[in-house]
């Protein structure tokens, strides 16, 4: 779709090139294409939003109305009954508690483990450094599904089956986070660390008092993504919990048996599962959108 047309017979070196012109037809076509593409964009956006809007509205609608067509998005009489049903029926409170506790501990663990390890890998020199980094790369390629069977067996052997230990401790594995923190720590100025060494600061104190304060943005990204990832996590909690009391929220949601029209309480439960993440996302938007680009895009 060229917007210029050069005069034919142009010969190199015969003076300045003639300037092209845009034909009216070409301009109209460009305009139409533009309008079309932006319409498609908006349609896509709406299509992405609709399911969420329906989920929120259904959570507050009485059950009979949930399957109405065309979909009513703003309930005429919003009700909290669905939430009542959801909380009464099962161990819903327990599920929420489990999710909150386990995911918080996991996130804290990740922050502690991988901030220190990432710092060591990025800023400290020691024999075997390249070896360790190589190991991390290899570890990155091992998805959970490949080790799930032996891990499951291990949970039995340790007697951790259906306990918080099983939900939390194996989940502390995070080579991706280690990689992320290493990349991030590398961007911090080494001269600060050198200066602190000259200033008689012990290595551990350098980490706590010099590095951590300026690493806050990276740690924030780490914490947010880790929390979100494990809050929405499903496979591991699914196989490692056997009783309803130990289930996390996401797993609990799938375990509920509803009649075909009981969408109300299902959506109420889904909303509770999704709402915290929505809130976190909307508040910390900057960090999300920034954090995604670390590692994939330079600069």
């Amino acid at each position: 779709m060229s917007s210029t047309s050069l005069a034919p017979g142009r010969v190199a070196g015969s003076g300045p090139d003639p300037v092209g012109t845009t034909s009216t037809a070409a301009r109209v076509v460009r305009g139409v294409v533009k309008v079309l593409s932006y319409t498609v964009l908006v349609l896509f956006a709406i299509a992405t939003l609709i399911p969420f809007i329906w989920m929120i509205s259904t959570a507050f609608k009485p059950n009979e109305l949930s399957m109405e067509m065309p979909p009513v998005f703003i309930p005429p009489e919003p009700t909290l009954k669905n939430f009542e049903v959801f909380f009464k029926q099962m161990n819903a409170w327990r599920w929420i508690f489990n999710s909150v506790v386990t995911v918080s501990i996991i996130t804290l663990g990740h922050v502690i483990l991988y901030t220190t390890a990432g710092y060591a890998l990025a800023k400290l020199s020691f024999p075997g450094r390249r070896l360790v980094f190589g190991m991390v790369i290899i570890a990155l390629t091992i998805p959970l599904y490949v080790i799930v069977v032996p891990l499951y067996q291990m949970m039995f052997q340790f007697g951790w089956m259906n306990t918080y230990a099983a939900l939390i401790i194996p989940a502390l594995v995070g080579p991706a986070n280690l990689f992320l923190m290493k990349q991030f720590m590398q961007t911090l100025p080494s001269s600060l660390i050198d200066s602190a060494r000259v200033d008689a600061c012990p290595e551990w104190r350098i980490f706590l008092r010099v590095v951590l304060p300026i690493a806050k943005p990276g740690i924030a990204v780490l914490a947010i993504f880790t929390f979100m990832g494990y809050w929405n996590g499903f496979f591991w909690p699914l196989i490692v919990t056997q009783t309803s009391e130990m289930r996390t929220l996401t797993v609990g949601l799938t375990s509920v048996r509803y009649g075909s029209f009981d969408y109300g309480s299902l959506m109420a439960g889904s909303l509770i599962a999704a709402a915290p993440m929505f809130l976190v996302f909307l508040i910390f938007q900057r960090y999300f959108l920034k954090g995604l680009t670390v590692g994939a895009v330079k600069g």
């Binding site: 060229s2 969420f52 091992i142 067996q153 291990m154 929405n232 949601l253 590692g295 600069g299």
Partner: protein, 320 residues
């Protein structure tokens, strides 16, 4: 401001009377000090990696050569029999086929459409950009389970489902989206199209933003058309991002499980059984740990193989 010369251990800025001891002497060594803390910082996480990642990975390989059923208390070495069983298992091949179809249908689409959307968003005001970015990334912060639940409504087999409502309004007949083998996988693919765009869009917008405007200005002066601009300037400069999105996206597609579990449980029949779902079924449905581990090993090979292929294919001239 004169000070005493540095003989022995006195410095002008050291308060008098500090004792020295042998441990301190070791810690004084510049390098040993640093090494000590480096190892200390790395030890916990490396230990966890070894116990809960590396060792199980090796065990997976070992299990794959065994007939291992914990429920029946069976465990013995059977060589490559598990792999043979898998090769002869039609459901396994169906799973591979389904997964491949899913990957091929979703990854290129996601990348192309995300790039297109990112390009469309670039000239907009930054508030609008953030709005769209937020909307498109919403599904990314939602659990696949929740998304599955909501889309169960959209794909409801009767007239009360949104999709059928649209179809019937256009004069068509209602479709049993998730209940018929012909439409089950396409439905899941369609759903992924509409929910999997956010991350790539954000990535591409960052990459596009990094292209210096001067490049485009030079192209304009050289009378380059829009398609040439894209092909010769934009595309090569965002290749690293495309590579990253392709590898991560492909790996993710190969491992799809959560939505299958929450929406179709691999059905109807085996129409939406993916590799991981098959693995889950073998491992925790039938408790054939040996067979499941064999499928896990094969899965790992597939994922790594594809990633390496993509790296080779893409990164001939990618600067990192």
């Amino acid at each position: 401001m004169t000070s005493t010369p540095a003989s022995g251990k006195d410095h002008a800025d050291r308060p008098p009377g500090r004792p020295r001891d042998p441990i301190r002497r070791l810690l004084q060594h510049r390098l040993y000090n640093e090494w000590f803390w480096a190892y200390l910082f790395l030890l916990p996480c490396l230990a966890i990696f070894v116990v809960f990642l590396v060792y199980p990975a090796m065990q997976s390989v070992v299990y794959s050569f065994e007939a291992f059923n914990p429920l029946q208390g069976e465990r013995r070495f059977i060589g490559l029999d598990n792999y043979a069983t898998l090769f002869r298992d039609p459901v396994w091949w169906t799973a591979i086929l389904n997964t491949l179809i899913f990957t091929l249908a979703t990854v290129p689409f996601s990348i192309a459409v995300s790039l297109g959307i990112a390009t469309l968003l670039m000239p907009l005001h930054s508030r609008l950009q953030t709005l769209f970015k937020t909307v498109f990334y919403m599904p990314g912060v939602t659990s696949a389970v929740v998304i599955g639940m909501v889309w169960l409504w959209i794909f409801y087999p009767f007239s009360e489902g949104l999709a059928n409502y649209v179809v019937e309004s256009l004069g068509g007949e209602r479709i049993n989206w998730l209940g018929r083998s012909a439409t089950a996988m396409p439905s899941i693919i369609l759903m992924t199209w509409l929910t999997g765009l956010g991350a790539a869009i954000v990535l591409y917008m960052a990459a596009l933003g990094n292209i210096p405007a001067s490049m485009y200005e030079a192209a304009d002066i050289d009378c380059a058309g829009s398609w040439t601009r894209f092909r010769k300037i934009t595309w090569p400069l965002i290749k690293p991002t495309t590579l990253y999105a392709a590898i991560i996206g492909t790996a993710g597609s190969f491992l799809v499980f959560d939505i299958v579990y929450s929406m179709t449980k691999g059905g109807p029949g085996t129409a939406t059984t993916t590799i991981v779902y098959r693995l889950y079924d073998i491992a925790f449905g039938r408790f054939e740990f040996g067979l499941a581990s064999a499928s896990a090993v094969l899965l790992a090979f597939l994922v790594v193989g594809f990633s390496v292929l993509q790296l080779r294919f893409f990164s001939t001239d990618v600067e990192y």
